[in-house]
């Protein structure tokens, strides 16, 4: 293992018997994920290549949630009985684990949300709420003449909230376009991010193209013009070592269920000096300081942004997922996935009639590979038909526009088929995909 993070000791240390270049034994790791042993349809082994949509969960995560409900369940931050104190300790311990996992300087910079979408909406709504807040929120205020910058490869969850913010405030949305090989076109970066930009929100790793974006370049331009930066890490945090200080962004959003944790829990990390003065998004219990019938004052972060009873069991499960990833080592996971991605790009490129949508090589690229396909008669095959036939072979992929319709428009395709990998994916699964695609082409060919 090449982990640079301390092990929590929850998992036994595995022998480095070598998955290809991975540093851990992937077959051994797969035993931690009971669902990967499932058989589907005509007793075919499940080949799960849809981890970018949602990852599978190891037993330790399932156990953590079950333990929580069996032994410690109570509401958090209220009540003085044993269970309430234990539940609070477990919930807050999960925050500590997440903070350490992303290199956050302070634990109170970690805000629990429902998912990445809510985390991004939180920032966008805080910015329009700034219009009616005090002078401390000046940094977040925007209006006509101001600009919000995104990229053309955003997931809808990092596009629509900003479109909505612009509608509420009269600000203008601008975006960084794409090159033909699926990378950000940074040639006119200085013209897109100007002194009018108040916030630049962009994806770290594209869920549809697999592209890993050059954070530093964009952040340095945004900083030079005084814009806030928001990074959508939904597809990067689960797959590579992340250090928020090194990234230099102001906010980072990501979600638990793509990083081997439960659904229903996401994270907004924000620099403390910003969270401290950022107006709240949702009002309710837990986020207040003093309440009268006329008005209220708000709690300090992170609780200001966690109105209502939070997702306690899910946070505990996420904490276990962070332990699991840390034990395996994010460097080792990244190396393993890099190997699988390069192998898949090679294998897929050799399929006749297949066109990869996104970077053709594994440089600055993660394990989400989109493609379109023609049949043996050279007619384009619709991804729904491709996915349906693959499913019948036990191969689970995602088809459609992947909540990134502007990318499909940019590349002139109605939809794509996407295979995506995680720490438990194998070369054998890639082989099953490539073989399945041959079958699909013949089935629809005349």
């Amino acid at each position: 293992m090449t982990s640079t993070r301390p092990s929590s000791g929850r998992q036994s240390v595995r022998p480095a018997t070598g998955g290809p270049g991975g540093g851990y034994d992937v077959e051994q790791v797969r035993k931690d994920f009971p669902i990967l042993a499932r058989r589907v349809h005509d007793d075919r082994p499940l080949v799960y290549l849809d981890s970018a949509a949602s990852s599978q969960k190891p037993v330790s995560v399932l156990d953590a949630e079950r333990d929580y409900y069996e032994l410690h369940n109570a509401n958090v931050h209220r009540g003085i009985h044993v269970l309430a104190e234990e539940a609070t300790a477990l919930y807050e311990a999960a925050r500590d684990k997440v903070a350490a996992f992303i290199g956050a300087p302070r634990r109170d910079e970690v805000v629990f949300t429902k998912n990445s979408s809510e985390a991004l909406n939180l920032v966008a709504y805080a910015m329009s709420n700034a219009a009616t807040s005090g002078p401390e929120a000046e940094r977040f205020r925007l209006g006509p003449g101001d600009e919000v910058v995104v990229t053309e490869m955003e997931h809808h969850s990092n596009l629509v909230p900003w479109q909505m913010l612009c509608r509420r405030t009269g600000a203008t949305l601008r975006w960084i376009g794409l090159t033909d090989d699926g990378r950000l076109d940074l040639a006119d970066l200085d013209q897109v991010i100007t002194g009018r930009a108040k916030v630049v929100s962009f994806v770290h790793q594209s869920n549809i193209l697999g592209t890993v974006n050059p954070v530093e370049k964009i952040v340095s331009r945004a900083r030079a013009v005084g814009a806030l930066t928001v990074l959508d890490g939904s597809q990067s945090v689960p797959h590579m070592p992340i250090d928020v200080t090194a990234l230099g962004v102001d906010f980072l959003a990501f979600t638990g269920h793509k990083m081997c944790g439960p659904t229903g829990i996401g994270i907004l990390w924000g620099r403390h000096e910003l969270l401290e003065v950022m107006p709240p998004f949702l009002g309710g219990g837990e986020m207040i300081e003093l309440v009268t019938m006329e008005e209220s004052t708000y709690a300090v972060p992170p609780h200001r942004f966690e109105a209502g009873t939070p997702m306690i069991a899910q946070a505990v499960g996420l904490g276990a997922a962070v332990d699991y990833l840390t034990d395996l080592g994010m460097d080792a996971i990244a190396a393993h996935e890099h190997d699988i991605t390069a192998y898949a790009l090679d294998g897929l490129s050799a399929v006749p009639g297949l066109r990869i949508i996104g970077p053709p090589d594994a440089v600055d690229r993660g394990g989400a590979v989109s493609f379109v396909l023609t049949g043996t008669d050279d007619r384009p095959l619709h991804p729904h038909d491709v996915g349906q036939l693959l499913d019948e072979l036990g191969v689970a992929v995602r088809v459609g526009h992947h909540c990134a319709r502007p990318v499909c428009l940019r590349f002139g395709v109605p939809a794509t088929t996407r295979a995506s990998f995680h720490l438990y994916s194998t070369r054998g699964e890639v082989d099953a995909l490539v073989e399945g695609l041959g079958h699909v082409r013949r089935f629809f060919g005349t």
Partner: protein, 153 residues
């Protein structure tokens, strides 16, 4: 394989050689419908004359199921009275919502019986219904609304 119950030869035939495809004049109304989950799209024109479906023409992009369904639908409704065509549409909708539990009547639905297998795949039902819904919408607009007794119950 199982899926042959979905991808019937009739469906593949219509997919490879669609009938009545291409937008034509004259027409009363044109609609554009999309299936946002998968990006299937259809632009469809309707011409109604004396209570009869005089013509239906379309351009579409999408999966084999949505393409074949559009082709089969035009075969079934063109030349029929609007009343009978709407009745057929209800029959087809019932079949698609049956999750494989209804034995379709081939005398009524003709080639559309081939879609019975699709009803077992909830994610694909919308694909099969896309062109039918577009046709119903265009027809309703052409008639300035569909009479109460024709509306789906």
């Amino acid at each position: 394989m199982n899926l042959d119950s979905m991808y019937q030869e009739i469906i593949l035939d219509h997919y490879r050689n669609p009938h009545h495809r291409g937008l034509r004049e004259p027409f009363d109304t044109e609609v554009h419908h999309v299936n946002p989950t998968c990006g299937d799209e259809v632009t469809l024109r309707v011409k109604v004359a004396d209570g009869v479906v005089a013509d239906v023409s379309y351009e579409s992009e999408g999966c084999s199921i949505s393409q074949a369904s559009a082709s089969v639908m035009t075969d079934l409704v063109i030349g029929r009275s609007v009343h009978d065509a709407l009745e057929l549409g209800r029959e087809f909708l019932a079949l698609m919502q049956s999750r494989g539990t209804v034995e379709p009547d081939e005398d009524v639905l003709e080639d559309a019986v081939a879609f019975a297998g699709v009803s077992r795949y909830p994610a694909r039902v919308k694909c099969a219904l896309l062109s039918w819904m577009a046709w119903k919408d265009a027809t309703a607009q052409a008639l300035g609304g569909i009479p109460e007794q024709e509306v789906d119950r």
